[in-house]
């Protein structure tokens, strides 16, 4: 079992080309996805916080006008 696994990982002596190629592809794709999702989440949370402040401010102004 272990021998079969090590033989598979050796890729007929071409492991030093195949695994780095797959690693580069996966790292670049995962990195781009993570950067895009984190930037989307942080912008959305910032907008949410700002909208809350804007709503509070406009309701304060309305109460001020009513008083």
């Amino acid at each position: 079992m272990l021998y079969e696994l090590s033989e598979y990982l050796a890729m007929g002596g071409d492991a030093r080309f195949i695994w780095p190629a797959y690693a580069v592809a996966l790292i670049v794709l995962a990195g781009m996805l993570m950067m895009s999702v984190s930037s989307y989440r942080s912008t959305r949370s910032k907008l949410g916080a700002l909208e809350k402040v804007a709503r509070r401010q406009s309701s304060d102004q309305n109460t001020g006008v009513n008083q």
Binding site: A25, V28, L29, V37, T43
Partner: protein
């Protein structure tokens, strides 16, 4: 993204376990399953980015600039993957990491065009001017797409790169055991491209709303009675 999450593991399994080694290239042929779809998606990304830029320049549609700016880093990533995996495939197959032939050099120029577009877009204080200048660069750079596509067929004797095996007029000359993993990875890459570009577009639109809210809030604060006193 759901299509990508399903097709990516299937593609990886078929590429690394389910497909046979090649009789000439042995196990190194497995690099093809991540290299070829990356090259296709790099060309597709550039073409769609240039189309979006043309729509932005001609019809001044604001969403077209957002789309083009969102596509650029994803396209640059696919081109980078194509170049690196190509070098890692070239060494055991050709005996060299790199040759300055038409195909490889034009793909390298494509990568620089993506990077140049991003840098030019972000280098202006006025985003409209940046989008316009970068859009013109992207539209001029579209000439490299047919050069890349036909560089091997036109300059067959002056390149180490092999010709097309899938997109041929006479039909694909690749065996189905290698075609399936290639198709699964292409579906995964395409779904990834659509998903990530949409996320980036949403993010850019939200960032624009954030900027306009900040300006409105600053104006409200400046006009409030307390500040006037």
């Amino acid at each position: 993204m759901a299509i990508c999450l399903v097709s990516f593991p299937i593609g990886l399994y078929l590429a690394l376990v389910g497909s046979p080694p090649d009789y000439e290239q042995r196990e190194t042929v497995r690099i093809m399953y991540i290299h070829v779809p990356a090259a296709w998606l790099a060309l597709f990304s550039y073409t769609s980015m240039a189309c979006a830029c043309a729509i932005a320049v001609i019809w001044r549609h604001p969403l077209a600039d957002v789309a083009a700016r969102s596509i650029a880093p994803v396209g640059a990533s696919f081109t980078f993957i194509c170049l690196v995996t190509g070098a890692l495939w070239g060494q055991p197959t050709w005996g060299t990491w790199w040759v300055w032939d038409a195909r490889l050099t034009s793909v390298l120029i494509l990568f620089f065009l993506f990077v140049g577009y991003i840098v030019l877009f972000d280098s202006f204080d006025d985003p409209t001017k940046g989008a316009r200048a970068a859009g013109i660069l992207a539209m001029v750079g579209i000439v490299f797409v047919p050069i890349i596509k036909f560089s091997v067929d036109l300059l067959e004797l002056r390149t180490l790169h092999q010709g097309a095996s899938v997109s041929k007029l006479s039909g694909p000359s690749i065996h189905s055991t290698m075609m399936w993993p290639l198709m699964a990875m292409t579906i995964a890459y395409t779904a990834y491209f659509v998903g990530v570009v949409l996320i980036r577009m949403r993010s850019t639109i939200i960032a624009a709303r954030l900027r306009s809210h900040r300006v409105m809030l600053a104006q409200q604060v400046a006009q409030s009675p307390r500040n006037r006193e």
